[in-house]
Structure formats: structure tokens, C-alpha cells
């Protein structure tokens, strides 16, 4: 089992991960994601994709948050991969 770093949008429904950092994205998006609780070390689970594939729904700090794939792309997470 190794720890791999990916972006949040690459997860599949049901997959869990831990937030590393929020990298790119505009200042206000970054600020908002942080304030919504996506800080370093936070556990996140990808719940589902919207019917048309975008946005995505995640579970964080006990509540549900939706964000677009482009926004999720700026969130770097680490997950356990079994390869």
C-alpha cells in the first residue's frame, strides 16, 4: 500500500482521501474552499458525479459539498492505492 498524490477530480465515487493542499485556482476560489473546511489533513470522500458528469459531490467535515471538476482539479489529495 503506497500513498499517491492526485487531484480531487480523479477519484471515483466511494473513494476516500486526505487533503494535501489547494494549489492553483483563483484567490477567491481557493479562499472559499479553505473556509468550507478543505484544509490540510482533512478527510474527504467522493460521493458522486452529477448526472451530466460535472459537478462532483464530496463529503467533508460531516456535510456535503458540490464543486465543479475544474475547481476540484486544484485540490491536491493523497490516497491509499493498492498497487
Amino acid at each position: 500500500m503506497i500513498l499517491s498524490k492526485v487531484t480531487l477530480n480523479t477519484l471515483i465515487p466511494g473513494e476516500r482521501c486526505v487533503i494535501e493542499r489547494i494549489e492553483s485556482g483563483t484567490i477567491s476560489v481557493r479562499q472559499r474552499l479553505l473556509e468550507m473546511g478543505l484544509t490540510k489533513g482533512t478527510n474527504v470522500e467522493l460521493i458522486r458525479f452529477a448526472p451530466m458528469g460535472d459537478p462532483i459531490e464530496i463529503s467533508v467535515r460531516g456535510y456535503r459539498l458540490s464543486l465543479r471538476r475544474v475547481e476540484a482539479e486544484s485540490v491536491i489529495v493523497s490516497k491509499n492505492s493498492h498497487q
Binding site: S28, Q31, R32, G37, R48, E71
Partner: protein, 704 residues
């Protein structure tokens, strides 16, 4: 005067909380129906105030601050909330006490805002709302421990069942202190040092109080945009100091932007683990199970389309019954007054100007009531966020937010409820764009014009075996409106109202049973606001239009000559050279001017021009059609109306802002004349150029 005096003497209390924390329900429970809605000066944010009456009969003003996740001022709503809590808003006194509404079932994220409020050293009481939901989810909260950790009183409440309201009131009525504990979240040492130093400087140089200086110091040190935004508020020396601090912290490898948020959440984690025990069951909650269907690839769409059809049906056809009833009653009242009063200008003014104008406003009410009932239920159950979640992909293609879908759909029936529905969109720019394009898709008011033109000039042919040409023309007009709306939205988002990235970071709250009281209250509030704000403008315009179409008076003239010679008639002649390239003559010119208030007036104006009574009713309409078909230019003998003119007229009506009620509502919603005036200009320009192109191409095709 008396009420003004007491207003100033009363205690001012603010209520604040995250969206979906149940703040509005608590506000309603605390104030009952004693509410009033206004605007903050200079911004489009709504200001809602109410009165609390305490057990001993004393009163206080309760200010409902916009729902917000933080005091970092990302949006206009948050900025207002922040500014009020810092005492920076004109005509709004610094609240003596803040009631913080916290969703007990979503404690961690909700406490983020609370940590900011506690920092401001304002006397605060926490209403731990939705306490029942937290317990049901298996979360045990030790109220006393939580209260001790936060240093403020914590009252458990269930707003939807009116539980804990009296206790909350009693807590507010008593003497409340700022948090008894000093700030507990800990910044990394280097940041803390710089922060303390800067705080000292701010206290010295700008005479700020300790909590405000601390707030400003944090913002200056860590907010990426603080320096550019607040440059003029601080001494140049201080700005230089901040810049040096930034360099120092950056060199140390500290992420200035995330450090404060992270430190606060660290503290929140500690508070939560001290005050709560979670027995959360693993597996799916009821809300999850509902979502599996409602956001399902196939069923999600089916249910969404079904719900939208019902909503559309309700504003488009069900609302028609009461609308016609209201219209008929106003006609009846008009007829009664007409019969009772002696003939003369005053009678005309009252019957045609005043009663007609008020009637025009009031007949919209059923649509607004239906739409807001619907939206209220969708919002209150939590489905609204899912609707945006489902539709966002499509809306994002033109640069809009998923939440723009419902307002646009409602606009199909009528732009007025559609524009009022844009309230659910938080982003100011997205909201404006949606408002600007909403009238383009609306059509119900244009239907009488379309019906007249299509019946008179579009041949009843069958195309491709099954489609009728008139039907196809009608569909083409809808599509034209929709295409225009989406393209203009795209253009506005690319140019005028360009916003950073169209962020879609939206909470999906758990489903819950709607509170009927809240939904009804919301509907009531919207309806009254519409009547008050839009009503006065529409009444004024309808009286002016009546005047223009009636004066100067002629002796013994037929209604047709009278209209022809009136100010409106002369204006029709005056604009003929301008509208000639569109294929319109002065008669249509008068029709266009007369229908500024409402598009459907075009039909009755045409009726007056051609001296036909009852153009609105079936027989009159048929004879108006024949007159239009037979009308020829007295000089050239060319028919005035052709199929091309009819199409041009319809195209013009699709794109032009021919509805004063919509203008009035946009003015009310944007809190100023700037946007409605812009909207009239761009839509008229758009209508003119497209109609021009259609007419000129049509002429070439007709010749060739």
C-alpha cells in the same frame, strides 16, 4: 416621529449564521410577523429587520444579516455582514448583541464563522439549532462544555418546531458579555509575532480598538487582496510595513493565505472533540437514499423535468384562472366607476389610467404567488441545490451558474417572477446576467401579438406532412428568444460582467420537511414587495401613457382620429423614418409606443387605430385581422402588412423590452436605475438590428 424616536432608543440585535442553518426560521419565530424589508444604501443586498417583544413587554430591533460562511467578505452579502459587525455601515448601528445560529448537525463548519465573531469581541449568544437532527444522527453535544469552550451562552433550539425559542429570548433579554475566554486559536509563532506587532501599530496609528485592530491585522497579513483593496484606508508607512511582513513570511515558507483558516479549524477540532461524542451510524442516511434517486443519471432527470413541468404549468396555465378573474374584476370596477361618474377627463383618468394601471400590476400577483410557493418548497426541502447540481453542466456552457436555470425557466411564462426568482443566485454578476437576459425568453405577454400576426399573415400550410406553418412559426419565435437569451448571457459573461472563475462551490444540505409557515411567509413578503415597489412605478407609467394617448383633445373626433392626433400618435408619426427600415409604418409606431407598458396592449391599440371595438375578443379580433390584411398604403397601393412585416414585428417583440413592469422589477431588484436602463438600451438595440437584418434579407429574397 414617535416611532422614529423609539427606533433609535431600542437595542439593536443582529442574527447571523451559515446558509441552511435555519436562521430565517429562527428569525421568524423570534419576530413573528413584525418584519420589514429594505435595502442597504448603495448595494443590492436586502436588509431585513424585525421586532422582538420580550416577556416584560420591552422591545428590541432584530436585524437579519445575510447568510454567510465567513466574515472574509468574498461576496457582497458577506461584505455587508462583516461591515455591520465592525460598525462600518451608515444608518445601521453596531449591534449590541449577536445571535449566532449554528447548525448542530454540521458543527465543525458552522463554528468557523462563530470563531470569527468571537474574535470581534461582540456580545454573543449561540443558538444551537437543528438540535433534533444532530441527536437523530447520533451526535451527542454537551451544551455546558461547548458553552465553556466558546465562552458564550449556548441555547439548543429547533426552529422548525419552535423549541427553545423562549429560552433564546430570555438569554437575549438579559445582560450579555463578549466571550469570557480570550482568543484560543493559535497561529504559528512567526505569524503570531508579526500579527501582534501589526496590531500594535494599528492601535497606535489608527486608534483602533483591540479586536478591530486584530481583525484588520489578520486581513492585512493573510488576505491576498487586502493590500490592493484597503490601500487608501491605512497610512503609507503601515502599508510598507505589511509588505515587508509578507516578504518575511513568504521567505519562511509559510502559506499566508491558508494559515489562518487552518489554525481556526485546528481549534474547532479541539472544541468539537471536547464537547461532542459521535455515534454516527455508518452507512447511508435517509438523505443519501433520496439523493440516489433524485440525482440519479436517469431518474434524476425524469423527476427534475417532471417537477419543472408542474412549476411551469402552475405559472403558465393554472395562474391564468385567477389572473383572468382579477382582470375581469378590474374591468368590472372600471365599468362601475365609468357608469357612476360624469363623463370627462377625470373619469377617463380614473378608469383608463388608474384602475387600468393598478389592474395591470395586480394581475401578475397569481403568477408570483404560484412561483414563490414552488420555489419556497424547493428551497426549504433542499431540492433547489440539487436542481442546480443537475443543471450546472448545461448552464456553465454559457458561463452561468446551475442556479440560473429556474429563474430562466420561470421567465418563459413571465419575466417578472423569473427576475424575482434570481434571488436564489448568490453571485452578484451571475444574478445580474440572468436578470438581463430573462425578458428575452418570456413569451406569455407576447402571445396575443403573435396570435394576431400569425393568424392574419402566416398561411395555414402543412410542412413535412405533420407540422403546421403557424405552429412552426410560433416555435421559431420561442427558439429565437431562447437563443438570444443564451447568446447574450454568454456575451455578458465574456465582457461586461466578466467574473474571475465561475465558481460553483455549493453546499448540498440534507433533505428536510418544509416548514409551511416559512414558505407562506416568504411568499407573502415577495408579493407585498412586488406590489409596493413595482406597483408605484407601473401606476405612474400607465397614467403618463394614458395622458399621451388622450391629449390634446379633439372636438367630435372618432377614437381613431383622436389617437392619431394625440401625443402618442404624433410620436408614432415622428418615429416612422426610424422604423421604416424595419418595415414598420406609423400605425405600428403608435402600437409600439402604446405597448411600452405591456406588449398585449398592441392588439387593442391596433384595434383603436382601425376603429374596431373589442379587438381582444374573438369577433373583434377576426375583423381586425381582415382590416390588417386589407390595409394598403394610400400613395403606393402596396399592402401595409405582409407576411414579412408580420415576421419582423414578431421578431421585434421577441427581442425588445416592451414591458414596464419588468423594468420596474429589475429596478427594484438591482436597487437603482442603472441596470434597467442598460437593459432597455441593449434590448432595443438588439431588437432593432436583428429586425433590420431580417427585413432587409426578406426584401432581397422577395425580389429574387
Amino acid at each position: 416621529m414617535n416611532s422614529l424616536k423609539t427606533e433609535i432608543q431600542l437595542r439593536h440585535i443582529a442574527i447571523i449564521g451559515n446558509p441552511n442553518a435555519g436562521k430565517t426560521t429562527l428569525f421568524n419565530a423570534l419576530t413573528g410577523m413584525r418584519q420589514k424589508v429594505g435595502n442597504y444604501p448603495g448595494v443590492t443586498v436586502e436588509k431585513k429587520e424585525g421586532r422582538i417583544i420580550f416577556e416584560d413587554g420591552s422591545e428590541a430591533v432584530l436585524l437579519d444579516l445575510p447568510g454567510t460562511y465567513s466574515l472574509t467578505a468574498n461576496s457582497p452579502d458577506e461584505k455587508i455582514a462583516t461591515d455591520i459587525l465592525l460598525g462600518r455601515v451608515d444608518h445601521t448601528p453596531l449591534p449590541e448583541l449577536v445571535v449566532c445560529v449554528v447548525d448542530a448537525s454540521n458543527l465543525e463548519r458552522n463554528l468557523y464563522l462563530i470563531s470569527q465573531i468571537i474574535d470581534n469581541r461582540l456580545p454573543a449568544v449561540v443558538a444551537l439549532n437543528m438540535f433534533d437532527v444532530a441527536e437523530r444522527d447520533g451526535l451527542k453535544i454537551d451544551i455546558q462544555k461547548l458553552s465553556a469552550e466558546l465562552g458564550v451562552k449556548v441555547i439548543p433550539t429547533v426552529g422548525s418546531k419552535s423549541l427553545g425559542i423562549e429560552e433564546l429570548k430570555a438569554a437575549i433579554a438579559g445582560h450579555v458579555e463578549p466571550s469570557s475566554r480570550s482568543r484560543q486559536w493559535i497561529l504559528p509563532a512567526p505569524v503570531q509575532e508579526e500579527c501582534d506587532e501589526l496590531k500594535g501599530l494599528l492601535q497606535q496609528m489608527h486608534r483602533l480598538s483591540e479586536p478591530i485592530a486584530f481583525h484588520e491585522a489578520i486581513v492585512l497579513l493573510t488576505s491576498p487582496s487586502a493590500l490592493s483593496e484597503h490601500n487608501d484606508r491605512f497610512a503609507p508607512g503601515l502599508i510598507e510595513h505589511v509588505k515587508r511582513d509578507h516578504q518575511k513570511l513568504d521567505l519562511l515558507g509559510i502559506d499566508r493565505h491558508s494559515v489562518v483558516v487552518e489554525s481556526r479549524y485546528e481549534w474547532i477540532k479541539r472544541v468539537c472533540s471536547a464537547a461532542t461524542v459521535s455515534h454516527r451510524r455508518r452507512g447511508m442516511s435517509a438523505s443519501d437514499k433520496i439523493d440516489q434517486i433524485l440525482t440519479h443519471r436517469v431518474w434524476g432527470f425524469v423527476i427534475f423535468i417532471g417537477l419543472m413541468t408542474i412549476m411551469f404549468q402552475s405559472i403558465f396555465s393554472w395562474a391564468n384562472v385567477p389572473m383572468e378573474l382579477l382582470g375581469d374584476s378590474f374591468n368590472w370596477v372600471g365599468a362601475q366607476v365609468y357608469a357612476m361618474m360624469p363623463a370627462g377627463d377625470l373619469r377617463d383618468l380614473i378608469v383608463n389610467g388608474a384602475i387600468g394601471g393598478v389592474g395591470a400590476v395586480v394581475t401578475f400577483l397569481p403568477q408570483i404567488i404560484f412561483l414563490f410557493l414552488f420555489i419556497g418548497f424547493l428551497e426549504d426541502t433542499g431540492y433547489m441545490a440539487r436542481a442546480a447540481f443537475i443543471m450546472d453542466r448545461m448552464m456553465s456552457k454559457v458561463g452561468l451558474h446551475g442556479k440560473s436555470f429556474i429563474p430562466l425557466l420561470s421567465s418563459f411564462a413571465c419575466a417578472i417572477p423569473g427576475i424575482m426568482a434570481t434571488r436564489t443566485i448568490e453571485s452578484r454578476k451571475d444574478r445580474l446576467v440572468t436578470m438581463l437576459v430573462a425578458p428575452l425568453v418570456s413569451r406569455s405577454a407576447r402571445l396575443p401579438v403573435y396570435a394576431l400576426m400569425i393568424a392574419a399573415f402566416i398561411p395555414r400550410k402543412t410542412v413535412l406532412g405533420i407540422f403546421s406553418l403557424p405552429g412552426l412559426t410560433l416555435v421559431a419565435m420561442y427558439l429565437l428568444g431562447l437563443t438570444a437569451a443564451l447568446s447574450m448571457a454568454w456575451v455578458f459573461k465574456k465582457t461586461l460582467l466578466k467574473s474571475e472563475a465561475p465558481a460553483f462551490i455549493m453546499e448540498l444540505p440534507p433533505y428536510k420537511m418544509p416548514s409551511f409557515k416559512s414558505v407562506l411567509l416568504h411568499m407573502w413578503e415577495r408579493s407585498i414587495l412586488f406590489l409596493k415597489r413595482a406597483g408605484t412605478i407601473i401606476l405612474g407609467v400607465s397614467i403618463v401613457l394614458w395622458f399621451l394617448a388622450t391629449y390634446p383633445k379633439l372636438e367630435r373626433a372618432s377614437p381613431s382620429e383622436q389617437l392619431n392626433q394625440s401625443f402618442a400618435g404624433r410620436a408614432g408619426h415622428l418615429i416612422e423614418p426610424i422604423i421604416k427600415p424595419l418595415g414598420f409604418d406609423w400605425k405600428i409606431g403608435i402600437g409600439l409606443i402604446g405597448s411600452i407598458l405591456q406588449r398585449e396592449v398592441f392588439v387593442s391599440t391596433m384595434g383603436t387605430i382601425y376603429n374596431i371595438k373589442d379587438a381582444k375578443h374573438e369577433r373583434g379580433n377576426v375583423s381586425l385581422r381582415e382590416h390588417l390584411q386589407q390595409d394598403v398604403d394610400p400613395v403606393s397601393g402596396v399592402p401595409t402588412f405582409t407576411a414579412l412585416t408580420a415576421i419582423c414585428l414578431m421578431v421585434y417583440y421577441v427581442l425588445a423590452m416592451q414591458c414596464m413592469s419588468t423594468v420596474a422589477v429589475v429596478r427594484r431588484e438591482t436597487n437603482g436605475w442603472k441596470w434597467p436602463l442598460f437593459q432597455i438600451s441593449y434590448m432595443t438595440a438588439l431588437a432593432y438590428s436583428v429586425t433590420f437584418i431580417v427585413y432587409q434579407i426578406g426584401l432581397v429574397l422577395a425580389e429574387g
